[in-house]
Structure formats: C-alpha cells, structure tokens
C-alpha cells in the first residue's frame, strides 16, 4: 500500500515524527481497533484514532443518545438525541476522516458475541460504563490473548492500564472480583465530569497508537490514576498475580461467564 498525496498531507505532522514516518503511518492505516462503548471514553478514543488514521475502527454500543450524555460524549450532538450511538458515531468519524473504515455493531457485549468480535481486531479498547462488561471484556481478552486498553472514570477521577496477556497483569490481578453493586455506583448515580472522561479517553488513544506502532512504553505493569480535582496523576505499580482467577497459574475462570446482578445501564 502506498500513501496518496492527500494522505501524506493529512498525516504530515505525525509522519515527520521519527517514531512514525511513512512506515508507521501505513501500519496505522492497516490496523484494526475495536472500541467497546461509544460514550464518554469511546468518544475521544475513536475521535483521535480516526484522526490518526487507524484504518479500521469497530464500535459496539447498544444504546441511543440521551441529552444527559452530551456534556461528555463529544461524538454526538444535540440533533442526535434519540439516535443509535453507533450511527451518530459513524457519521461524525466519517466526516472527520473518510480514510477510516467504521464498522458498527448496535448490540450489547455478551459472552456469546465477545470472542468472535475481538478476534477480528488487533487491539481492543475498553470504553464501557459498567463492571459487568468490564470483567467480561478483560476475561475474554485474556482467554484469547488479545491486548486491551482498559480505563474507567467516576466523578472527577479516572484510571487506566494496558493489559497485554502473558506480558503483564490483567484487570483481575488488580481487582480480582467485581465490587458489590451497592458499593459501585454508575456515572448516572454518582456523576462524572466530562473532562475526566476526555483525559482518560485521550490517554487510551495514546496507548493504542503506541501499541500499534510498537513504540514507546505502554502502561503494562503500571496503573495511572488521574485526579482532576487536584490536577494530579499517580502511578501505581501493579504486578501479575499467581492467584489471579483468569491469568494466574491455576485459573478458576477458563470459560466466559455472564456477571449478573450488576447494573447494566
């Protein structure tokens, strides 16, 4: 594949970076990333990945746009209220960069569809809004050996880590079991400031681009926590746990289960 003149112009400011170059740009254009969720995290993630010229973006989200989404879900606008999020996302991203092939799935992530979906992509980005999908996605990525950029937000705070199965810890190495529903409020219940979702989503896109280019250092074995109220980042060393129920030496989770009892908005 050769870059066209238009592509060279479009991506010129990143092609001149020594870590990217024409070769790196072609690599991005040949890459496939699945973003699970087209909300507060999924908006900045897909925006920046599309802008950077990641050639194929899969987006899965079953939901429709609500007025209360718009303070943080910047893929969608006021006229999109009531429309499927994936439809609105596709329109916005195709307008931004027609180079990118956008594949949409208007469905809920489940133990039935997750393995088939993630197997078609090079990298998965977790941009979901609930623990049910978060644990399902972590377990599926570990079981089929798929890299995962994981992030979550609540109120003013956010966390991010990159899971490369076999190379570093997974989400369950840090948080072995989902919290009880009454101890784990959703953004709907506890609130979220739009910018925190923005910061964490942009960091997820950063992780994805570096991983695809095989450059720099990913957040493998490190968790980065952002506190917007104090404008502070904290880095936490995390290690792979022998006792991890999914990636440990004697895993108890060897096939996917549905985690019920947790709120799935």
């Amino acid at each position: 594949m050769q870059l066209s003149d238009r592509q060279i112009r479009r991506y010129s400011r990143q092609i001149i970076l020594p870590e990217i170059g024409g070769k790196g740009q072609k690599k991005l254009l040949a890459s496939k990333v699945l973003v699970v969720g087209a909300g507060g995290l999924g908006s900045p993630v897909t925006y920046y990945l599309a802008a950077a010229g990641v050639g194929t973006l899969g987006i899965i989200d079953h939901d429709t746009v609500d007025l209360s989404n718009l303070h943080r879900q910047i893929l969608h606008g006021t006229p999109d209220v009531g429309r499927p999020k994936v439809e609105s996302a596709k329109e916005t991203l195709e307008k931004l960069n027609p180079d990118v092939k956008i594949i949409t799935y208007q469905e809920r992530l489940s133990k039935e569809n997750v393995v088939d979906l993630i197997s078609q992509y090079d990298l998965v980005v977790d941009a979901v809004d609930n623990f049910t999908a978060r644990y399902l996605l972590n377990d599926a990525c570990v079981l089929v050996n798929k890299p995962l950029v994981e992030a979550g937000v609540l109120r003013w705070d956010g966390m991010i880590m990159t899971v490369v199965p076999g190379k570093g810890p997974c989400y369950r190495c840090v948080f072995p079991t989902p919290p009880a529903p009454e101890s784990a409020p959703t953004c709907q219940e506890a609130g979220i400031i739009g910018v925190t979702a923005g910061v964490m989503g942009v960091l997820q896109a950063t992780e994805a681009v570096k991983f695809l280019l095989n450059t720099g250092e990913n957040l493998v074995g490190r968790m980065l926590i952002f506190h917007a109220l104090e404008s502070r980042f904290q880095e936490v060393e995390i290690t792979r746990q022998e006792s991890c129920p999914v990636c440990g030496s004697e895993p108890t989770i060897t096939q996917l289960e549905e985690y019920t009892g947790y709120c799935t908005p």
Binding site: G40, D129, L154, V174, E182, S183
Partner: protein
C-alpha cells in the same frame, strides 16, 4: 498516631462534607491499613488500591505516625 488520609471517587462519601477529600485520622499505634478502612466505614466488599506515602501496600500493612494514605476504588464508568 496521626495519618493524613485522602479518599478518591465515590469513597469521598465516607468523609465529612467539608473535608475536600482529605482528612486527618487518629488511630492507635500498630494499626494497619485494614483498621483504617474499618475506621472510615468503607465497605469490605470493595477491592481497593491502598497507597502509603506513594507506594502501593496490602491491607495488612502496619501504618506509621505521619503516613500519607490514599485509597482508590475501582471506577467502572465510561
């Protein structure tokens, strides 16, 4: 001993309203991070990240006078 404690995300609900997420806590010598969590009435069914003076420590870590403790819950929103 006196500890400087910061709680994050929804854990802030376990501090007084005017605390701005940070509070000084008096605990007996020899208290552990688990004792602090119990003292603050944080639910036990929540997996937590405990940072003591910037380092991650387990729940049975024995705290010292003047320690800065940060506690972070899993955040699941997006």
């Amino acid at each position: 001993m006196q500890l400087e404690v910061r709680l994050f995300a929804n854990l802030r609900d376990y501090l007084p309203k005017d605390s701005k997420g940070q509070v000084k806590v008096e605990l007996p010598e020899g208290s552990t991070a688990a004792d602090l969590i119990k003292h603050l009435n944080i639910p036990r069914d929540l997996p937590l990240i405990i940072m003591v003076n910037g380092r991650r420590e387990p729940e049975n870590h024995v705290l010292q006078d003047g320690d800065r403790v940060g506690i972070f819950p899993p955040v699941g929103g997006g």
